[in-house]
């Protein structure tokens, strides 16, 4: 967490000054930083996280293959410094894209043509400077909600997350600056599906079980991951993950726990090694008699299954291999909502309390 104390403004300035001094010496300006492709992703068995390896790449300006990306990186750094850090404002990834999207005079070339390019440049800047996107004042779409006995402070406002009705607290894109005033919960339940969150909220599951509920829709955003990590570390709360019984669900869990390939450089600030997988497991399918509600695996599922079972962190875990093997034997997957077939509140009244009581978790 030492990085957090560094002043981002100075860090960007330093990066700029290094390049300027290379140019003054008549050198082709060059940026050296760790490669971010799969070949340089290492699964660190000790910390159980994905991190970047030691392979470095160089990007120089007077090189046709590099020059555009070089310019994009520097352009984005300049925008962040001048427009955001200097003024203390925040901007969206989308906004940064629009600020950097200009046509270079005398050409028909745009500095960036679509948002993926400016997004990539920001990620590069994170790797180059060691600053996180959040520290660079760049936010993403906020997605996800929280409900439970937590009182937190967000930009000077005090928010009681137990009194926010059906919607719950809308988790911002940047969660670094939140502070937890009072937390009264035994565990956090994170779920992939917003629909399940609504079900549990309506059933007052969090009240009855003294839990905090967190959801996103699909992939877990950086903001949510950072929030979960802080709750886990600062408040010492166990975190349970509830996803569909499919490889995409498994991977959502693995990203929260070990980190992701795309954001391996930020693993330190995002991963939660202690997180546990609650369900849906293959055993749940058998024990809760859900076989009738299975969905046949399609081509994409099978491809993804093959990829997932090749990942080192799955490959070396017998429990997970067993899950994948059973999924293959079923030839099918299942959604969390399949539990509704047993009764609309079966999940909040039986399934979850039972699983948590019996500590039926996968690591």
């Amino acid at each position: 967490m030492t990085k957090q104390k560094v002043k981002p403004k100075e860090e960007i300035e330093l990066f700029g000054k290094k390049l300027v001094s290379q140019i003054e010496k008549g050198k082709n300006p060059e940026i050296i930083f760790p490669l971010r492709n799969l070949s340089n992703i290492v699964y660190d068995k000790k910390t159980k996280t994905l991190r970047l390896g030691d392979k470095k790449g160089a990007r120089s300006f007077f090189n046709v293959a590099h020059t555009k990306k070089f310019l994009q990186t520097v352009e984005v750094a300049s925008i962040i410094k001048k427009e955001l850090l200097d003024s203390g404002k925040h901007e969206h990834l989308r906004g940064v894209f629009y600020i950097s999207k200009r046509t270079i005079p005398g050409t028909n070339i745009n500095i960036v043509d679509d948002q993926t390019e400016s997004d990539k440049a920001i990620e590069d800047l994170e790797v180059i400077t060691g600053l996180s996107r959040e520290q660079l004042h760049v936010s993403a779409n906020k997605m996800g909600s929280l409900v439970g006995n937590i009182i937190l402070e967000d930009s000077g406002d005090t928010i009681d997350c137990s009194k926010l009705g059906r919607g719950g607290y809308s988790i911002p894109s940047i969660t670094d600056e939140l502070s937890f005033k009072k937390v009264n919960a035994k565990y956090i339940l994170y779920m992939e599906k917003a629909a399940i969150f609504e079900r549990l909220n309506e059933d007052k599951f969090w009240q009855k079980n003294n839990a905090v509920l967190v959801t996103s829709q699909g992939q877990t955003t950086r903001g949510i991951r950072r929030l979960l990590q802080r709750l886990s570390e600062e408040e010492n709360l166990p975190i349970y993950v509830l996803t569909d019984f499919d490889c995409w669900g498994f991977y959502i869990y693995s990203v929260i726990k070990y980190g992701s390939i795309a954001l391996a450089h930020a693993s330190e600030r995002l991963t939660i090694p202690g997180v546990k997988f609650l369900g849906i497991t293959a055993d749940d399918i058998v024990n809760y008699d859900l076989k009738k509600h299975l969905i046949k695996l399609n081509e994409q599922d099978l491809t993804r299954m093959k990829q997932v079972s090749e990942y080192e962190w799955f490959k070396e875990n017998k429990d997970w291999l067993r899950q994948l093997k059973m999924m293959k034997e079923f030839g099918a997957k299942a959604e969390i909502q399949a539990l509704s077939a047993k009764g609309i509140s079966f999940i909040s009244e039986h399934y979850l309390p039972e699983k948590i009581r019996k500590k039926e978790f996968l690591d």
Partner: protein
């Protein structure tokens, strides 16, 4: 009783069909199957004859071609040359008797082969318009010019002379033919225009003046004063004859013994080879050629086919030559790059032949359509039956992608190029009498491919260099545009002075640019050499 015998009854209907009558019914065999093609064929036959005549006289050809449109489907074709002219007695036979010619009985590289061409044109004119073909010919400045109006007696294959008198003609020597015919004039790949243009490409020693039906006068200039090397006449090679030919040769020979027949009437047979052949055929070397039985001829034929005899001489061929082919191509096809290849002579079925190929690339040539393939045989453009031609097959079978052209499967490649293939031979194996497609002999296909591959390699190295040079230019341009952007961004980041950063970046570029410029010039030098 006699009336009841069917054969006798039938015999009343049986009679000889003259060759002229045969071709009247089968004009497609000679390439006169539609009015558009007929116009091209008439011009082609006349021009081919003129060029052959000039070659024999060793004079630089100057050919005048005029196509006049009388009505929608009526045309007059005039072709005039400065060749040796034709002696008076021969004029009717040459123009108005099919299968009359000097070239069928000898082996020498020439445009005409069978002596059908020009008389077929006359026949076509007669059939479609009933008009006479008008000929003027003069053989010497001091001799008179003769004027003829001719028809063909189609039953007897004999000339009908309508008019015949002396005329004043300003030329020192030469021949002029004027025919009227039913035809259609079109522009495009198979037009008279195209035929003349392509003829100019492969005959760079020829000057052609062409007056189109639209009365536009186009001059195709001569680009060399060197006459093509005169092709030598050769005797047949034993591997290239057919049984019937051998029988005829034995009957017609002036040699008195088999041994001397073999030595005198064939090439590449000396006394030793001759006596070996006689021995193997169990025939006396002193046997009279005329006395050999047909059974004996058959076994002699087989032995000749299999005998180890060195390949025929190839100095009988007269290729265009890589340098002149390129000159010819340059003057008619505008492109950025030209490559030519002349293969060493080779042999198919005892017939010497030689392949030349050329590629023109770039410039204004169409980038996205199939490459234009120009086929030539003994300096004559082949405009029809591209699909049936061995040259097309060999071109499609060559892999063009490594040479920088696009190609899908075994098809004619796609790209901004013209491909030229010329086959020179004492006997070009055409698939039909229309002489538009070369037959598919393995030896010929192989040579064509080798020639094309050689051109292809030159093309590939040009494209590589050219693309590189272009990229380098673009690169410099790109950096020049990027520098102000980079300087401004870096200045924002570092609070350093923007113009100082910009100046320094420009210095770095100009240091690199001098290097880049050198290599561009280097490439252009290479281009000039190739």
């Amino acid at each position: 009783m006699a009336e009841n015998i069917k054969a006798i009854e039938l015999s009343k209907k049986q009679r000889e069909i003259s060759i002229s009558e045969f071709f009247t019914r089968n004009r497609h065999l000679l390439g006169f199957d539609n009015p558009t093609r007929a116009l091209m064929m008439v011009v082609k036959e006349a021009v081919d004859n003129s060029l052959d005549a000039c070659t024999e006289m060793k004079v630089l050809p100057e050919i005048y071609v005029e196509v006049k449109q009388l009505s929608e489907d009526r045309f007059v074709v005039i072709v005039e040359d400065n060749g040796p002219g034709i002696v008076k007695q021969q004029i009717p036979n040459i123009f108005a008797k099919l299968l009359y010619g000097s070239k069928f009985h000898r082996l020498s590289q020439s445009r005409g082969q069978q002596g059908i061409g020009i008389s077929a044109a006359v026949l076509y004119s007669q059939l479609t318009t009933g008009k006479f073909t008008k000929i003027i010919s003069k053989i010497h400045p001091k001799k008179p010019a003769h004027y003829f109006e001719l028809h063909i007696d189609t039953k007897r294959n004999e000339p009908i002379i309508e008019r015949d008198h002396e005329v004043e003609w300003l030329k020192d020597h030469g021949t002029r033919i004027e025919l009227e015919l039913e035809a259609r004039y079109q522009k495009g790949r198979q037009s008279v225009d195209e035929y003349i243009k392509e003829t100019a490409i492969v005959n760079p020693h020829t000057k052609i003046i062409y007056v189109t039906p639209e009365k536009e006068k186009i001059e195709f200039p001569r680009v060399t004063n060197d006459l093509p090397i005169e092709p030598k006449e050769i005797k047949p090679h034993p591997h290239g004859i057919e049984l019937g030919t051998l029988m005829r040769m034995l009957k017609d020979t002036t040699s008195t013994t088999l041994s001397s027949f073999l030595q005198n009437d064939f090439c590449r047979i000396g006394p030793t080879v001759a006596s070996n052949i006689c021995e193997e055929a169990k025939l006396s070397s002193r046997a009279k050629p005329g006395d050999i039985s047909s059974q004996e001829i058959e076994s002699l034929y087989k032995i000749l086919q299999n005998a180890k005899i060195i390949a025929p001489p190839t100095d009988c061929l007269s290729p265009i030559g890589a340098e002149l082919l390129e000159k010819g191509l340059r003057k008619e096809i505008e492109a950025d790059f030209y490559a030519t290849t002349t293969r060493p002579a080779s042999v198919y079925r005892g017939m010497p032949f030689q392949i030349e190929a050329a590629i023109a690339y770039g410039g204004e040539l169409e980038k996205e359509s199939a490459v234009r393939l120009m086929r030539f045989a003994n300096r004559v453009p082949l405009l029809y039956q591209q699909g049936a031609c061995g040259i097309t097959e060999a071109t499609s079978d060559t892999s063009w992608r490594p040479y920088g052209l696009q190609q899908s499967g075994s098809n004619i490649p796609v790209g901004p190029a013209v491909i030229v293939v010329h086959m020179a031979s004492v006997w070009v194996p055409f698939t039909s009498e229309a002489k538009e497609a070369v037959a598919h002999y393995d030896e010929i296909l192989k040579e064509i491919k080798l020639a094309l591959q050689d051109c292809g390699r030159k093309l590939a190295s040009y494209i590589r260099k050219n693309v590189k040079a272009k990229e380098q230019k673009e690169r410099i341009n790109l950096f020049e545009k990027y520098i102000p952007e980079l300087a401004s961004a870096l200045s924002n980041m570092s609070n350093e002075n923007k113009s100082a950063i910009e100046e320094n970046l420009k210095k770095i570029l100009s240091k690199n640019m001098s290097k880049l410029n050198e290599s561009i010039e280097g490439n252009e030098n290479d281009k000039a050499e190739s």
